[in-house]
């Protein structure tokens, strides 16, 4: 899908957020960018989204050109919903920006809300929803355009452990069903090990890709109890310690 070759990003302030990052993204991948704060993982995600441009290196899309608006879904750490808009209106936003009417968009909105388990909450405002439900709205908003690539920037970091586990399992089943490519930024080894097929370890100052690990775990909720999951967590932990 995408090849990043020796990508670097230095901000005008002089901070070098990312140095010499090379990464190949396959269609259908679930890649976790794992590392401590300041390792450039969010910067890398923004570069992939086209929200920022690298100073050095290249991003080459297999399709020949970057994805059109709507082909990339983006989920931030905060749900970043419009506080004055209902669930339905928030999920409608990407389609509205594409020029669709509410009537045209309604079937898609209903389908994606059902998929994330928010049927019945169409008319609720963000402040009436729990943190986990707000994040579900945010995910629904990212999925409503049926993106080929879903970028997620620590989406579950602010949630409690129980809600986080539910959402992680739901995300895995979404990924299995929708067959889109996911790049997931996290600073949690457990989260990366549970979710990702490939875990990319990153180190800070300047942000670099240290190494990559693959996972053969089944993408399902039961994986958490699998001894192989614990082994993968241990392997990533060792890898991370070696890299740091």
């Amino acid at each position: 899908m995408l090849t990043l070759a020796n990508v670097g990003r230095r901000f005008p302030s002089g901070t070098e957020a990312l140095r010499d990052a090379s990464l190949r993204l396959q269609t259908g991948d679930f890649v976790a960018l794992l590392g401590p704060s300041g390792c450039g993982k969010s910067t890398l995600l923004r570069l992939i989204a086209g929200l920022d441009a690298p100073n050095t290196g290249t991003l080459t899309w297999d399709a020949g050109q970057p994805p059109a608006p709507g082909e990339i879904g983006y989920v931030f750490q905060d749900a970043t919903l419009l506080p004055w808009a209902t669930t339905e209106e928030n999920v409608f936003l990407p389609l509205r920006l594409r020029g669709l009417s509410r009537t045209q968009a309604r079937p898609d909105i209903a389908a994606v809300l059902a998929r994330v388990g928010l049927t019945g909450f169409e008319h609720a405002r963000p402040r009436q929803l729990s943190g986990g439900m707000r994040m579900r709205v945010s995910i629904a908003r990212a999925l409503v355009t049926r993106p080929r690539l879903l970028l997620m920037d620590e989406p579950f970091a602010a949630l409690d452990e129980f809600t986080r586990h539910r959402l992680q399992s739901d995300l895995l089943s979404l990924w299995r069903d929708l067959r889109c490519t996911v790049v997931f930024v996290t600073h949690s080894i457990y989260e990366a090990a549970f979710l990702a097929r490939r875990v990319v370890l990153m180190t800070p100052r300047p942000g670099r890709i240290a190494r990559e690990m693959t996972s053969n775990l089944a993408p399902s909720a039961e994986t958490r109890l699998d001894p192989a999951y614990a082994a993968l967590v241990a392997r990533i932990t060792q890898g991370m310690e070696a890299a740091l």
Partner: protein
Amino acid sequence: MIARLAPFLFGSIALALWEGLVRALEVPAYILPAPSLVVAAFAADPVGLLVSLFSTLTVTFAALLVAAVLGAAMAIGMAASRFAQAAIQPWAVALQVTPLPAIAPLIIIWVGDPFASLVVCATIVAFFPLFANTATGLASPPPELTDLFRLYGAGRVRTLLLLRVPAAIPYFLSGLRISGGLALVGAVVAELVAGSGGFASGLAYRILEASYRLEMPRMFAALVLLALAGIAINYGLGAVGVLLMRRRGDA
């Protein structure tokens, strides 16, 4: 409940003390009239004072309306263009820091029409909070949301209409509340400066008139009306804001 009654309780005690002290110390009415005399002065000519109040309020609300339209429009213009921001901002600040009494005589001479010149003066005072608050509100959406709009290919105009303007509404409404009181202040200051050359019907003119004639109770009655009008405007606009936000589902 007690907190709600507290202002009335405090006011009643203060009024009682005022009445008692003025009587006990036999303070002459031309220096400090007792509250009972103020009430009597109002009762002697309620229509005259209320007509004057109406005149001042007309100026106030006209100015508030102009300030709201101008303030919001200029803030939106500034948000839409960086050039406009650079061009407008320093002048808006200059307008805010220039004392109204210093420019009111000029405005009264230039504008000519008494009503219009009073409205212009009051608008100058009321303009800034509306302008500044709306501008702050337009800039308030978190960067993630602006990124999201960019990601979906929304241009400046759509981002403005669908994100920044709706985000600015609560800020605009709190600006409106502040500016409501300021518009009244501006109207009164302008009336004072204009004096007999102005509209000759506002409450400030009644205050001037009463002070020339040493009719202190009437002057106080006019002051009380002004204060009550200010409180009503402040709470009224606050209630309108809460109502609008509740209808939108924000509060």
